[in-house]
Amino acid sequence: MKNDIILAGVGGQGILSIAAAIGIAAVNSKLYIKQSEIHGMSQRGGDVQSHLRISDKPIASDLIPAGKADLIISIEPMEGLRYLPFLSATGWLVTNVNPFINIPDYPNADELLNQIKNVRKHIAIDADAIAKEAGSSRSSNIVMLGAASPFIDIPFEKIEEGIRQLFGKKGEDVVELNLKAFRMGRAFSEKNR
């Protein structure tokens, strides 16, 4: 078993909470993990990515080789496209459709959607709307994790356990809300894959 996952977004959007939930699930499943993050200047509103590698065998490189990623999870429609050279021919792009606009030349939404549709295996999801429906717009990252979960080879329950551990300190209400967001995201992908 081996999953190479690229998480994409903009500095400050919190892609690392997605990585943390998967990371906990991987450790609890006794898998090897390497996760490379971006700290520093890019966190000031620049493009950021995290390389997350999970395997049942030891992992060598902290960086995923080009053309080898099984999954790109992007919490913003333009940022996922930036890492297409990393996506394998059989890999999935799972992306939020809500743009984060902090540059003057941000592209047209339809153009972006067309490019997303050009990726053979893709899920384009309105994670913000689903998060709101689940009870809090702040859980859109966890909706994205849910939407990506069918393409991660870790049992569903183990990822739920990861979410419980991640949000446990914040109380049962927050845990339940995020589990709901997670399941709704997953249901969307199951229906639309």
Partner: protein, 541 residues
């Protein structure tokens, strides 16, 4: 994988390794990608219980010197900074190899090849070689832990500081780490020779000869080190030398991580002569893979390059600049790389930018307006979030060279006749190394205006404390700036006109003036507000 492993960043693994290895004090100035080492120790309950010193220093030189002092007193100390921080600490660092140590002393320098968050990609291993001390360069997070854990003993055994060199991907990647038994801290114990640290020429000459004499011992230890491994391969048409994490990028390219060529994996320096000779003699040619400058490659190749073919960065097999990755290594080996789809043209660059609502934005808006009557090209700036003022829409600054250079460059330009000259510097950078430059300017009453954009934090690295919060005005007075020409303003839109007027006045003044726009970083403000909400205390701005 063992469940009692910790999932740690390379930075955090070094921190935990040092704590478990008997650390008594860590000294540092924040800088990407090294910042998380100190932050981990500060957040560690174990470190608090052990009463380990864990406060930020004013700059890398003061950090290095404090660590030398703790080592002098017999205890184990660690000092951490980014690669360019080692430049600031270099005087103390180089001389620490001449004094030798008492308690174990580890210096961690985090390099940033590809300049993700830096102004150059210098390779700290040259500093290690320059001061003739052992260098440890971990290839994974476990080694990072182990090297810090055992590094103090290596330092004490060889009577020199030990340099741990990491690069961005090692610093900021997480993996499982197995801890060792916690070692006790050293007792307070003065050096047996009371003159060991007195580098008067007569004593320094003796110490230096001792350092030179211990080089063969360092090389012998490198040859025996388990961090340096000669891994046998069947295809001897090529031998490969890797340093640090380059090993991972190499074996990533082969099924089950089995490289067909003999590989010498180097993670401890001085480079092991015995193993290099063996590899060289048994293979037709060599390829050197190292993250950073071609240090090992140059040494093996030699100036005359009259031996076997050595491929690497010097002959263009690998780009001379930038960090390595599995694909760059694959291409160097002649392996095929199957890239995915191209990046669609619709994707735009998204450079970092100042946060919406940031006080620096108002400072630049005010300054640009105030300087309209002058020709452009007279604003010298510095290292921090406000360096982003060089980018559109501000286009407000004309330099960013090194910590503190804004004030002294403005002075030099004013000396040359560029009047007015303006410096823009942050509060943390000012106390790091701007204060001494301000003294130079005061002593000559140079016609410069210094804007200390005070957000009361070290912003770019994530909001560490700024060491003179609330005392900047007093410091400027103490250095000798005339109180009439120290102006504190609040960088808010509603104050725009008044602030522009004040800047214009001070820029027109023929002498040293300091303007201090003061408004807390909106990131730390938001965090403080959240924390205070949690503890139910009212928030005041």
């Amino acid at each position: 994988m063992n469940n009692n492993k910790l999932l740690l960043l390379g930075d955090e693994a070094i921190a935990q390794g040092a704590i478990d290895g008997g650390l008594s004090g860590i000294y540092a100035y924040p800088g990407t990608p090294s910042t998380e080492i100190m932050e981990y120790v500060q957040g560690s309950r174990q470190a608090a219980e052990l009463n380990i010193h864990r406060q930020w220093s004013a700059n890398e030189k003061t950090a290095m010197e404090a660590a030398i002092g703790m080592s002098y007193a017999g205890k184990r100390a660690m000092v951490c900074f980014k690669h360019v921080g080692l430049n600031v600490a270099a005087d103390a660092f180089i001389n620490a190899s001449i004094t030798g140590v008492n308690g174990g002393l580890i210096v961690v320098s985090a390099d940033d090849p590809s300049m993700h968050s830096s102004q150059n990609e210098q390779d700290s291993r040259f500093y290690g070689k320059f001061s003739m001390i052992p260098i440890l360069e971990p290839s994974n997070q476990q080694e990072a832990y182990d090297m810090a854990y055992a590094g103090f003993e290596l330092s004490e055994r060889l009577n020199v500081p030990v340099l741990i060199r990491i690069t961005t991907r090692m610093a900021h990647s997480r993996a499982g780490v197995q801890r060792g038994e916690v070692k006790p801290q050293n007792q307070l114990r003065l050096p047996s020779d009371p003159r060991q640290y007195v580098l008067l020429p007569a004593i320094a000459r003796k110490n230096y000869k001792k350092l030179l004499g211990s080089q063969s011992a360092m090389e012998f230890i490198s040859e025996q080190s388990t961090y340096n491994q000669l891994i046998h391969g069947t295809d001897k048409s090529l031998g490969i030398i890797t340093t640090g994490i380059a090993y991972n990028y190499l074996i990533e390219n082969y099924p089950d991580h089995k490289c067909p060529y003999p590989v010498l994996k180097i993670c401890q320096y001085p480079i092991p002569r015995k193993q290099i000779t063996e590899l060289y003699n048994s293979c037709e040619k060599l390829l050197v893979l190292e993250e950073g400058y071609p240090l090992v490659e140059e040494m093996v190749k030699g100036f005359l390059n009259i031996g076997k073919t050595i491929h690497g960065r010097l002959d263009g097999t690998i780009n001379r600049d930038g960090e390595l990755n599995p694909n760059i290594v694959a291409k160097a080996l002649g392996l095929q790389v199957n890239e995915g789809q191209l990046i669609p043209e619709v994707v735009r660059n998204r450079p970092p930018s100042l946060c919406p609502g940031c006080g620096h934005i108002d400072v630049y808006t005010d300054l640009n307006e105030a300087l309209k009557e002058y020709e452009k090209g007279r604003v010298f700036s510095d290292i921090g979030c406000y360096t982003l003022g060089a980018l559109p829409p501000y286009n407000a600054i004309n330099s960013c060279v090194d910590m503190g250079a804004s004030i002294t460059m403005a002075k030099g330009a004013a000396d040359a006749g560029l009047v007015p000259s303006i410096a823009v510097i942050g509060d943390s950078t000012f106390t790091h190394s701007g204060m001494t430059g301000l003294l130079d300017a005061v002593n000559e009453n140079s016609p410069i205006t210094v804007i200390i954009s005070d957000n009361s934090t070290t912003g770019m690295t994530g909001g560490q404390p700024s060491l003179a919060t609330g005392r900047i005005v007093e410091i400027c007075k103490g250095i000798g700036v005339h109180p009439n020409h120290i102006k504190v303003v609040t960088p808010l839109k509603k104050n725009h006109e008044e602030n522009v007027r004040i800047i214009k006045e001070e820029v027109a003044y023929h002498g040293v003036s300091v303007i201090i726009p003061q408004r807390e970083c909106i990131q730390t403000f938001a965090r403080r507000k959240k924390a205070e909400k949690k503890s139910q205390k009212p928030v005041t701005d």
